[in-house]
Symmetry: C2
Amino acid sequence: MKLATLKNSSRDGRLVIVSRNLQRAMDASTVAPTMQYAIEHWSQVEPGLQALYEQLNADQATSSFDFDPIQAMSPLPRTHQFVDASAFLNHGNIMEEAYNLNVKKTPGIPVLVQRQSDDFMGPCDDYPFPTEADNADFEGEFAVVVDDLPMGSSAEVAESKIRLVMILNDVSMRTHLFRELQMGFGFINAKPATVFGPVAVTPDELGDAWQNGRVNLYMRVSRNGEWFGNPNGREMDWSFGELLAHLAYNRNLRAGTILGSGTVSNKAYRSVGSACLAERRAVEKIDTGESTTPFLGFGERLRFEVLDDQEQSVFGAVDHRFVSSSRKT
Amino acid sequence: MKLATLKNSSRDGRLVIVSRNLQRAMDASTVAPTMQYAIEHWSQVEPGLQALYEQLNADQATSSFDFDPIQAMSPLPRTHQFVDASAFLNHGNIMEEAYNLNVKKTPGIPVLVQRQSDDFMGPCDDYPFPTEADNADFEGEFAVVVDDLPMGSSAEVAESKIRLVMILNDVSMRTHLFRELQMGFGFINAKPATVFGPVAVTPDELGDAWQNGRVNLYMRVSRNGEWFGNPNGREMDWSFGELLAHLAYNRNLRAGTILGSGTVSNKAYRSVGSACLAERRAVEKIDTGESTTPFLGFGERLRFEVLDDQEQSVFGAVDHRFVSSSRKT
């Protein structure tokens, strides 16, 4: 099943069903008015949403319309908890080698970062930021949305509570990131609003690509229309279930909690490239002593998309332009 | 004006008006069904809520009832963003001296920590945690709730958007805290669910005690009925407006965002005591080389309350017992 949220001037938008090929959409409000409502009442609404989805794919929906991602908000335009992992150790290893970072990780314990969830941006909306001196960067990631998960749940139980899978651009301001990382308290100015791809899909929709609590698909990242990287999600060092279990060690996770994977990163980074500028710059520094790829300037366009084995877009694309917040249109 | 949220088996509870003396309450649903709704529609609902508050205080409300804090949830049982500051530098200074912490702070830039906001606990609910080996601690704090605040807002604008003031116990698991702080990515297992005092009050309700964007009142902390400390909120090194402006540097803050002060801590800590165990233990270590005050055990009771200059409770009390999550009743 594929779901999206369209703009309607409310904070939570309106829920729509999207066809498997992402071409058509139909209103879902007879079953669930918003994505948040759907997640909070999943067992009641899932059969009704699934029935609509089958009608739409069979071209039997009476009132469908063209799906326009420009009209989409993030699938959850806001929620009550967003945690981002750094679950591809390959990325951290490259960063630590290039910059002699002394990150005191404990072997076996994943890095998770508590993040804000009050103001996600739409996948095609202009992305405003104050100054290029902040060294703007992107991070292509996968994420899951979970139902209520009680404190102390196992990885297996956690995985069974994953309702939706999404992609995102975890926008990062590197000037602030290194300062805030050294301070120890996580990210504030380093991580402004996050942007999710337009369509959230149920795990079953991924078929064989959903394996071991990981998305076994390539994240295609392009910068100003040029290929930047296409690492695969299968190399996560922890499954989403394992990450959720760590998070739920001593707290309940409530319906709508989003957990991100961290920048997708592969050991074969020399052939598949990277999903963020910082990693490519780190590889350059390791290889030549100098980073040459520039951070984002105003007016640059980023695109993140995942194709299935039929070369069909699974989640639609995050496709947006970075602009000056003082010149925001 | 004083507001609270009572349990009603929904995730957001139901909004009630509470009398100034905290004795009586009345339903507010004719004006706003939930606290979140009230914050999101503040300019429309504030006059109606104020009218009810005046009726209640004048004993003219037709359907008031006794206010029972045991029935209260946190004023916002969940919201979309919670950020906690560490705005009393005195606390950090004591901790750094005692434990030779090398926190790389930048002078002038406040420490803020992004936190989860999906599952706040009620002020009198038993607080479950997995094991005493986690070194459970409390932190008495003040907090504010803000309306929508656009990216780039000044401290003055931010302060004008503060709608409510609250108190909280920022529960902390010290075993995890030192490990996570060294890692640099903020807190996960170190900071389980937060607990807010039962009653949220508008800044005007504080009268002269609301000065320079700070709460000039003493936070009385007791452990198992014994005085533990009563530091004053006036020594915050940044105002709430200044902290909010730092947070809003490159992001919008959406209505319902909660900002905490960090552990209340005063330079006269030898006379006023502390609002958390870690600080008292740090003072012991500085004085004698050894910390003797134990962390929390199962069954211990904590109470946090703030009195005005008439010795009247302003926010009601966080008054709860710490219990084993495996023996949760």
